[in-house]
């Protein structure tokens, strides 16, 4: 039986998701909504506990493997789920579906984080994507939501096709999709490497889309804007983190693609920061910011590729990437959640932020912390994680790349601080925004902000997860 234990979190969430889906259809009133909410929370907590213990049991050969890194990532994604449940009050309609989809998305992430087989990776991505398609268009009463959902669906499927075809080619080349076997085969080159390279290239397209790396990033602003803010947060942080977690064991695939990765990284970092420069809609700014952050993560990933499996260095870089993902997740989720309070079914503009200081000063200060962290300015986790990542990149010899990344972040500072300027510096006359207030959300966000600062000074707590 113990080999099933490794699927326990997924199973729990699957059960939880189905249950909430059904129960949600049963009662739509407030009690019902709250019930599914707490039920989800229970399942997520159980899944978390399961993930914590599942890794302790012996691991056989499987599509899914609990490595320490996978465990840490899994815990992070489950925490994201818990965070979202706590932070976001249940939607007035279709609460059951909301929570079910959330849990399904987390299953996808968990699968991604632990996949040791490219097939599992594909399945994880698809599970995650399918849930997200619906979540993006969740508020389908508004036209933008549908439009965004459709756009996301079309482009994500398009990318999935690339991913699938790329996997097919890899399979053609290697005869297997198992990561460890591919690694072994790769060390003894076969005649089909050519197909394998093309396959990896196409795989990169699919993965790049999920990560929103340039030039596969175009969807990001439109989708982030259309989706409910918290969903945008998940797409920006956890979903990308999961994809990256899945890519971490695959570095060996890209050893001959470093130039490609290098180019992608550089243009991602630069374009991501350039795109947001004069953007007027804060959610789009955060979308562009997420593109830039993927660029920074790719810097780390390239360092990982360059480390060529050298164990201490690899583990350091993995630690750095993990830390970065955690730091970025905190800040991005927090920032999106604050913006979510201002959403009123219409497009949010920067100038709307002006009212926040008057209406809900706490939210303004919290947003400031998150934005500062995103910009990578101390004393926040965004600074230290970026520092760590770049440190490792320099260690791996990527001085030029780090210079590009730093240059990009210098450009990026401009748009982050434009948010701050709108929050604190501009006249508040004539700005009327409705702020939805929720006590629990304030508490959760405050805690998040505190963590953002605390971990910015004491990252050991994060490293301890590994």
């Amino acid at each position: 039986m113990t080999e099933y234990l490794r699927y326990l979190p997924d199973l729990l969430l699957g059960i939880g998701g189905t249950t909430t889906l059904l129960l949600g259809a049963w009662r739509e009133d407030k009690a019902g909504r709250d019930f599914v909410r707490w039920l989800t929370l229970v399942f997520l907590a159980l899944a978390g506990a399961a993930a914590f213990y599942a890794a302790l049991f012996p691991q056989g050969v499987s599509w899914i493997v609990w490595t320490p890194l996978a465990k840490a990532f899994s815990l992070v994604f489950i925490s994201v789920g818990i965070w979202v449940v706590l932070c976001e009050p249940p939607p007035p309609l279709r609460a059951g579906e909301w929570y079910a989809l959330l849990q399904f998305a987390i299953i996808g992430m968990l699968v991604l984080a632990r996949s040791s087989n490219l097939a599992a990776l594909f399945l994880g991505i698809e599970t995650l994507s399918l849930a997200l398609y619906v979540l993006v268009a969740f508020r389908y009463a508004t036209r933008t939501a549908i439009r965004g959902g459709a756009l996301y669906l079309v482009l994500a499927s398009f990318a999935s096709a690339f991913l699938g075809f790329g996997l097919a080619l890899i399979y053609t080349a290697y005869g297997t999709l198992d990561v460890t076997r591919i690694m072994q085969i790769q060390e003894s080159p076969t005649m089909l490497t050519f197909l394998g390279h093309v396959g990896v290239g196409l795989f990169l397209v699919g993965a790049g889309f999920k990560l929103a790396a340039v030039p596969f990033h175009m969807w990001a602003p439109d989708v982030y804007e259309a989706a409910p803010s918290v969903v945008s947060g998940i797409i920006a942080s956890a979903s990308k983190g999961a994809t990256l977690a899945a890519l971490l064991p695959l570095v060996f695939l890209f050893t001959s693609h470093t130039t490609t990765l290098y180019v992608i990284t550089v243009i991602t970092v630069i374009a991501g920061n350039l795109l947001g420069l004069l953007e007027q809609r804060p959610k789009r700014i955060l979308a562009y910011s997420s593109i830039a952050h993927v660029g920074y993560l790719l810097v780390g990933y390239l360092a990982l590729v360059s480390a060529r499996g050298e164990s201490t260095q690899t583990s350091h870089i993995q630690e750095a990437i993990f830390f970065y993902v955690v730091g970025y997740t905190l800040a991005a989720l927090g920032a999106f959640a604050v913006l979510g309070q201002l959403e009123d079914g219409r497009t949010l503009y920067l100038r709307d932020l002006r009212g926040l200081l008057k209406r809900h000063p706490l939210a303004a200060w919290l947003l400031m912390v998150f934005v500062v962290s995103l910009a990578g300015i101390p004393p926040t986790v965004g600074f230290l994680s970026k520092f760590y990542l770049f440190l490792e990149a320099v260690k791996a010899g990527h001085v030029g790349l780090v210079l590009w990344a730093l240059g990009g972040s210098a450009i990026g500072v401009f748009y982050y601080t434009r948010i701050l300027a709108q929050l604190f510096m501009s006249a508040t006359e004539g700005v009327e925004v409705k702020v939805q207030r929720d006590r629990l959300r304030d508490v959760v966000l405050t805690a998040t902000a505190c963590l953002t600062i605390l971990w910015g000074m004491t990252p050991h707590f994060v490293f301890a997860l590994l």
Binding site: A119, F122, L123, E126, L130, Y133, V134, A137, Y140, R143, T144, I146, R147, G149, A150, L151, L153, V154, S157, F158, S160, A161, F162, G164, F165, L167, A168, L169, Y171, T172, G175, T176, L177, R346, T347
Partner: protein, 101 residues
């Protein structure tokens, strides 16, 4: 017997056709169809590769691709209905040009 490489070439051609379909069609439904073609091209490639290697893995993988494609289409159709309802058209360009606010 048809060589597996030929099947691969067919799959590639299918994939490209699908991709071109996504690029040139503006109608949401046709775009969905083009994506289906691309996914099926991937499936075909898997099956063909399965033949090359003499393993069932590729065919099993095709089994995974099928429901994924189906699920995507299902969501896509739902969204298509909503698009038609809210925008009165399925033309993605027109929809993109519609200004909100």
């Amino acid at each position: 017997m048809v060589p597996a490489e030929h099947a691969l070439i067919v799959a590639t051609i299918l994939f490209c056709l699908g991709a071109i379909g996504v690029l040139v069609r503006r109608n949401f439904l046709f775009v969905l169809m083009a994506i289906e073609i691309m996914l099926n091209a991937a499936g075909l490639a898997f099956v063909a590769a399965s033949g090359i290697h003499g393993q069932p893995d590729g065919q099993i993988f095709f089994l995974f691709i099928l429901p994924v494609a189906a699920a995507e289409v299902a969501i896509g159709l739902a969204l298509g209905v909503l698009l038609r309802l809210r925008y009165g058209t399925l033309d993605l360009w027109q929809i993109a040009q519609t200004r909100e606010d």
